[in-house]
């Protein structure tokens, strides 16, 4: 660099201070969590719940089904952390084991409803004739509130966790199908799909290579909302006695059993309700964070 000649009498501005803050934005996983705190909070809470569900037997629990009528309706304390119910069962143990049912139902429904909805949505989005038929069926299903549909389906079968998953999955499929079909229809108009057609790519490969990967982002976000909705639906089904059989402790069952006593012994309802709320909140926060990180514009679509 050569020195610049400054004519006499010309005022020269002082060099600018370094106004830009030092770059210390972190990259990688930690940086990602810092940028999307809702993912960190929601994901963290969900990991804790998963830990609790998986390791329930090792977390100072008792047999959640063992009866002790002599010790019934004890207040929360040293012996019964969350108290005991009207049959003397430990509410703490029951709530922890109940997390297994809720999370299993939530994740299973999210997975199966997404997978089946994705398949149907791709099919409907690609085949015009199928589209009008499939989507009218889905509209019909969507006109029934998912909880009523799940109750009706449960009325046809025996109460078991598998049947609960199946019933809620069927009730949630139309929403996924509608989303996937919409995304497929808009992706089909993308120039890169036209370019792929011109490059001699067949229909199946177009779907597999160009359409499917681009539906996964919005579908993942939708799956988290389905997961949260499924956990609530499961609790409602158990609460009204149309879901998980009473012998299996689930949050809905515990609340249903504590309902009769809730004015005098509110803790029986309180603890499972708090766990359910926290879990649903965690999943929803995770979904919001994922949505923001994947595509801020999705906020309008979902």
């Amino acid at each position: 660099m050569s020195a610049i000649m400054i004519p006499a009498g010309l005022a020269v501005a002082k060099p600018m201070p370094d106004v830009l803050p030092p770059v210390n934005a972190r990259r990688g996983f930690i940086g990602y969590l810092r940028r999307y705190p809702t993912i960190a909070i929601g994901g963290g809470l969900l990991v804790v719940m998963l830990f609790v569900a998986v390791f329930a037997p090792f977390l100072w629990t008792k047999d959640p089904t063992s009866l002790a009528p002599a010790l019934r309706t004890r207040e929360p304390g040293a012996e019964f952390w969350f108290g005991s119910d009207m049959l003397g069962r430990d509410v703490y143990s029951r709530v922890l084991y109940g997390a297994r049912v809720s999370l299993l139902v939530g994740f299973s429904v999210a997975f199966f409803a997404s997978a089946i909805g994705l398949a149907i949505g791709l099919f409907a989005g690609f085949i015009r004739l199928a589209d009008s038929i499939v989507m009218r069926v889905m509209d019909g299903m969507m006109s029934i509130p998912p909880i009523l549909l799940a109750i009706a389906l449960m009325a046809l079968t025996r109460g078991s966790v598998q049947n609960v998953i199946l019933a809620i999955t069927i009730a949630e499929i139309p929403r996924v199908t509608r989303l996937v079909r919409g995304v497929v229809l808009s992706l089909r108009e993308q120039p890169y799909v036209d370019a792929a057609v011109a490059s001699g790519t067949g229909t199946v490969m177009i779907m597999w290579r160009h359409i499917l990967p681009n539906t996964l982002a919005p579908l993942t976000v939708q799956a988290t909302y389905i997961c949260a909705a499924a956990m609530i639906t499961e609790a409602i089904l158990s609460f009204i006695g149309a879901g998980t059989p009473p012998i299996i402790p689930s949050w809905g069952n515990i609340m249903a059993e504590g309902r009769a006593l809730w004015q005098v012994k509110p803790y029986i309802v309180f603890f499972p309700a708090v766990f359910l709320s926290i879990t649903v909140l965690a999943v929803n926060l995770l979904g919001d964070g994922l949505r923001d990180s994947i595509d801020p514009r999705l906020a309008k679509k979902l």
Binding site: Q190, D194, A195, A196, V197, G200
Partner: protein
């Protein structure tokens, strides 16, 4: 020599759905009887304002949708009525570069996979090493560094992305490339680079090009022949010099008068068209341009003019050419066209 691409009386009408049961209530006459041909190594530009059907013609010759009527002959074979399976190997001969470099690349595929797709589809290479070598050569052709093949599309700028799109079009080793507004979305300096790249590649590979554009300055720079479209029809086709120097259709004349002239102090009369383009759902009877034509007379409202020769290699669809020469306003040279003719003559 046979033209590489021959289009005759191409029609593409889109149904307008409406009513309670989605019945067809009308047609959009997007392209309504278009004929042209392109020779090997030649550039034909298709110009016209938005919505006149330029892009629909481009997509139709690529057979991205079924045609309503007409013939498309690609390298001696009719492709307009072929089944998708029959057509697929022939797609190798005609490739496309789209306008928007951001939506023409799949965001979930790396550059290498994008370029490898046509190579494997057409069986140009099968072994991984051969594919990689060809992908490398393509990157050289479009002047991009070879090590960029392992990147994602979002890591490139608009101009670089358009180079990748061109590389993808070249991957199939085509005879014709359809450039659908290929440089319209780029800023001026990048536009110049891409135009020069296209010209270099054309000289190098002997490509024919269908260059769809509304930018007359670019068209003037890079084309051999020009076809002017208005409301789904070609109104004039001519060699570049004839069309820019001596337009034989009032619409072309008006279009050209809107192009700024690069001459300090030069002032030429501009022809300002009145009104809007009529709807392609209900095109006007007779000549489609009569509603806005400054010279329209009674016959124009009733009878549709045919595209006829008005000079060597010069076709125009206008009734004015049936008038005696002295009364034909199109034959009077205006200041702007004379200036442009002189410039083109000098070039």
């Amino acid at each position: 020599m046979n033209p590489i691409l021959q289009v005759s009386d191409l029609k593409k009408h889109f149904p307008v759905k409406g009513g309670l049961f989605g019945t067809t209530v009308g047609q959009v006459y997007a392209v309504d009887g278009v004929s042209f041909e392109i020779n090997r190594g030649e550039t034909l530009s298709l110009v016209g304002e938005s919505g006149c059907g330029k892009s629909t013609v481009g997509k139709a010759v690529l057979r991205l949708f079924p045609l309503t009527a007409g013939q498309v002959v690609l390298d001696g074979k009719r492709i307009d009525d072929m089944s998708a399976g029959e057509l697929r190997p022939l797609r190798r001969k005609i490739q496309v570069v789209f306008q928007d470099p951001f939506s023409s690349l799949n965001p979930r595929m790396k550059v290498r996979d994008i370029l490898a797709e046509p190579i494997t589809n057409f069986g140009i290479a099968t072994a991984k090493d051969d594919i990689d070598r060809r992908v490398g050569e393509l990157m050289d052709k479009v002047r991009l560094p070879r090590d960029a093949v392992n990147r994602w599309p979002h890591e490139f700028s608009g101009g670089q992305r358009q180079r990748i799109c061109i590389a993808r079009a070249l991957a199939a080793d085509p005879d014709v490339i359809v450039c659908d507004e290929a440089v319209s979305a780029l800023d001026v300096s990048v536009k110049a680079q891409i135009v020069n790249l296209l010209q270099d590649l054309q000289a190098e590979l002997g490509l024919a090009m269908l260059f769809i554009s509304h930018d007359l300055a670019i068209v003037e720079h890079m084309t051999h022949r020009v076809a002017v479209m208005y409301l789904g029809k070609i109104v004039e086709v001519a060699d570049k010099r004839d069309l820019f120097g001596a337009p034989r259709h009032p619409y072309t004349e008006a279009l050209l008068s809107a192009v700024p002239v690069m001459e300090p102090g030069a002032q030429f009369q501009r022809i300002i068209l009145k009104g809007d383009v009529p709807s392609p759902i209900r095109p006007p009877p007779g000549c489609r341009f009569h509603t806005r034509c400054p010279y329209a007379f009674e016959r124009c409202r009733k009878e549709e003019p045919k595209l006829v020769a008005t000079g060597s290699n010069h076709l125009a669809a206008c009734h004015l050419h049936d008038l005696p020469e002295a009364e034909n306003p199109l034959l009077k040279t205006t200041g702007a066209t004379a200036f442009r003719a002189a410039q083109l003559g000098a070039a």
